[in-house]
């Protein structure tokens, strides 16, 4: 993850790292890109840009370290830059709002949900996906990284350039927002969401 340590790989080493450490993550990278952009072509471009950058900056990658986290960090940064470029309204305002309003590390964990385990179990993949996709990008991202891709809090902190405490609180809030969505689906499915 460190960009300070510079290596000098031979072409053969570069190809080997690229093929054996970078390319095996293309499925996860594409899924992440698709869930960020919701568009097949944008997702393809984002993954392609990420791999080209990864190759260009391969000397900043230390062989044997976490290539997946390194690639995800590049992808996420490319997305932010691209997203800001594309959108006419700069996303800065939204982002700041999120940073100041949602990112305080003091979270009240005691909020309980009346969503029922059985209702969640019965939900279809599409419903889960739609609920996830409906979350704001910062919340969606932490859930993807943690629950879909299995990154640790520490890896997520490095990928997102935020402190671990913020990872923890943002994740907690993201799952609460997801539960709200799932609860409304459950109500539509006719599940009784009230406490017994």
């Amino acid at each position: 993850m460190s960009e300070v340590q510079r290596k000098k790989y031979s072409d053969k080493e570069k190809n080997s790292i690229f093929d054996h450490e970078f390319m095996p993550h293309i499925d996860s990278m594409y899924n992440f890109a698709y869930r960020l952009t919701f568009d097949e072509d944008d997702a393809k471009d984002l993954v392609q840009d990420t791999y080209l950058k990864a190759y260009r900056f391969i000397n900043s990658f230390e062989q044997g370290t976490n290539a997946k986290a390194w690639l995800f960090r590049i992808l996420k940064n490319s997305f932010i830059n691209e997203y800001r470029k594309k959108s006419k309204q700069p996303s800065k305002v939204d982002y700041q709002e999120v940073e100041t309003y949602y990112n305080s590390d003091n979270v009240d964990y005691s909020m309980t949900s009346d969503l029922r385990v059985d209702a969640v179990k019965d939900m279809l993949g599409d419903e889960i996906s739609n609920a996830l996709n409906s979350l704001a990008v910062d919340f969606r991202t932490v859930i993807i990284l943690c629950d879909l891709e299995g990154f640790t809090y520490e890896e997520m902190a490095k990928i997102l350039d935020i402190p671990i405490g913020t990872v923890r609180s943002r994740l907690h809030r993201a799952r609460n927002l997801l539960k709200d969505k799932l609860r409304s689906y459950a109500e539509n499915m006719g599940y009784d969401t009230d406490e017994e």
Binding site: T112, S113, D126
Partner: protein, 90 residues
């Protein structure tokens, strides 16, 4: 764990430190809490109804996200396109 569902009447109905307990339970589910022993977890779940419910809801949320979220197939030509572009910049 589910067999405990029938013994919910033995659990206390209010958690004295919900915020702290829930944070701990979520850390355990995320694989971040390695110091809390299984005994502590088991005891919490056996004795406290809010903790029990929160743990199982959080657990199932993680399971459905991991197992049910639609996977998007990588377009077949993407890997080849990337390799080709790499050859061009070499």
């Amino acid at each position: 764990m589910d067999k405990n569902l029938n013994t919910s009447n033995k659990r206390k109905l209010n958690c004295s430190d919900e915020s702290k307990c829930f944070e701990l339970l979520e850390s355990i589910l995320d694989g971040e809490e390695t110091t809390a022993s299984k005994e502590i977890l088991d005891e919490k779940l056996a004795k406290c109804q809010p903790c029990f419910e929160h743990y199982h809801l959080e657990k199932v949320i993680r399971e459905v996200l991991k197992n049910k979220c639609t996977k998007h197939m990588v377009p077949a030509e993407l890997a080849d396109t990337i390799r080709q572009k790499i050859q061009e910049i070499k």
